[in-house]
């Protein structure tokens, strides 16, 4: 397996001999690199029709995890608006992300039932930590997230008095200091 450092634009093979894998692209009959990294050749599977080897470029730095559609993420709510809540994605699965990813939970994605009667202020507040699922890559500004499942929703929240609240039902959390209950879309934790 040949390994050499390549930069974007470097020629790394011919389309007749290889297939372009990750970090590579074909122009006319030549394969070029699109990332900086090491050039690797991966042999083809024995049963595949196209018996060309795959040439790919793997980055020289390890990337942090990236949210993918279907993955469960932990995020912090930054702003709650009438029809959606803006969040900052903190972890994908159990790994912390290395760069800023913005997410949005729209009114219709907060829960599964009665989605047009959702009150965003009774579901999330700024500062809450939520577990959500990535629906799609969304638009240029943010991923689209959903909390429409029992195990998704607010995992940790602070009351107006400043104490971490205890969940008492799927819609309410209680402050241990003042006894006041606040409404949230609470995630079912445990089991």
């Amino acid at each position: 397996m040949t390994t050499e450092l390549v930069t974007p634009g470097d020629v790394i093979g011919k389309a007749t001999e290889f297939k372009a894998g990750k970090g590579a692209y074909v122009n006319d009959t030549t394969i070029y690199a699109s990332l900086t990294g090491t050039r690797r050749i991966v042999s083809p599977l024995p049963e595949s029709l196209d018996q060309r080897a795959v040439v790919e470029v793997t980055g020289h730095k390890a990337h942090g995890p990236i949210p993918e559609p279907g993955s469960v993420v932990i995020a912090r709510v930054t702003k709650v608006m009438a029809r959606m809540a803006a969040v900052d994605i903190l972890c994908v699965g159990s790994k912390a992300v290395r760069e800023n990813f913005a997410g949005v939970i729209r009114q219709q994605d907060v829960r599964a039932t009665e989605i047009d009667k959702v009150d965003m202020h009774q579901s999330f507040r700024a500062g809450d930590i939520v577990r959500a699922m990535v629906l799609s890559l969304g638009d240029a500004r943010a991923y689209y997230l959903s909390t429409a499942k029992n195990e998704l929703g607010v995992v940790s929240a602070e009351s107006a008095a400043g104490e971490t609240m205890v969940p008492i039902s799927w819609t309410e959390m209680q402050c241990p200091l003042s006894g006041q209950t606040e409404q949230r879309k609470v995630a079912k934790v445990g089991n």
Binding site: K79, V80, M81, A82, M120, H121, R125, A126
Partner: protein
């Protein structure tokens, strides 16, 4: 300078308090339910003032601090005068002299549908009701009352708007009718709209009347009932000759 501590609940009522003054100590008052109004904050057993003003009490158990400010903190069901600063597809952005701009949904009008959305230019003055004020979110307004009727809400045309303090707005809205307005109303014909956010709108057929009413209202802030009547008499005497 140490904060004033009240020994018993009655000692600070109707007195001027400043932020930090402890007005009530609940450990001395067991088995009582107290209702705290605006300007008071509870920290376990200690109730302290958060605003400078007069501590007021209403039987049987309501306490609050009455104060007057230039800035307005929106509360639900307040009637305010707002100025349109922008219009988007779903909402108008309205300035109500609060910490944030408020949103007026384009459908929040009597019989409001997608087909008859009003077109308000930037700068239009509106008489509005505050619907929701959630922390962290922009306040929401409406041009209907709770049952959906128009009830005098909406744009205010012609006339003149003046900025006042929140205390003066509340005084002008007090019942029985504020002495200034009563005295002016006996001799002049005009209409006013008072917003709790420190804005008042005056309109009349004659510009002279508008000016007199506006000046009289601005001057009446710290006057007693009799002083207000005398002030209005003097003003009206000047114009009748």
């Amino acid at each position: 300078m140490a904060a004033k501590v009240s020994v018993s609940p009655t000692s600070l009522i109707d007195q001027i308090v400043v932020p930090g003054d402890v007005v009530l100590d609940l450990s001395n008052m067991t088995n009582q339910t107290i209702k705290l109004g605006s300007g008071l904050h509870q920290d376990n057993d200690v109730i302290s003032a958060m605003r400078a003003g007069k501590l007021s009490f209403c039987k049987p158990n309501k306490y609050w601090v009455e104060s007057s400010h230039k800035r307005y903190i929106p509360r639900p069901e307040d009637h305010v005068l707002g100025i349109v600063v922008d219009s988007k597809t779903d909402n108008f952005w309205v300035d109500i002299k609060g910490p944030q701009l408020a949103l007026l949904p384009v459908l929040a009008f009597e019989g409001g549908t997608q087909r008859n959305i009003p077109k308000f230019e930037v700068g239009t003055l509106l008489y509005l009701r505050v619907v929701k004020t959630n922390t962290g979110m922009n306040p929401e307004l409406s041009c209907t009352d709770a049952s959906g009727k128009a009830a005098l809400f909406g744009p205010l045309r012609d006339g003149f708007m003046l900025e006042t303090s929140t205390g003066l707005s509340r005084m002008l809205l007090s019942s029985p009718t504020c002495p200034v307005i009563e005295a002016l109303g006996k001799k002049l014909s005009f209409e006013i709209a008072v917003g709790l956010n420190g804005r008042v709108w005056v309109n009349s057929a004659a510009p002279r009347t508008v000016i007199i009413v506006a000046n009289a209202m601005m001057n009446s802030e710290s006057l007693s009932v009799t002083q207000q009547r005398i002030m209005v008499e003097k003003l009206l005497a000047k114009i009748s000759d």
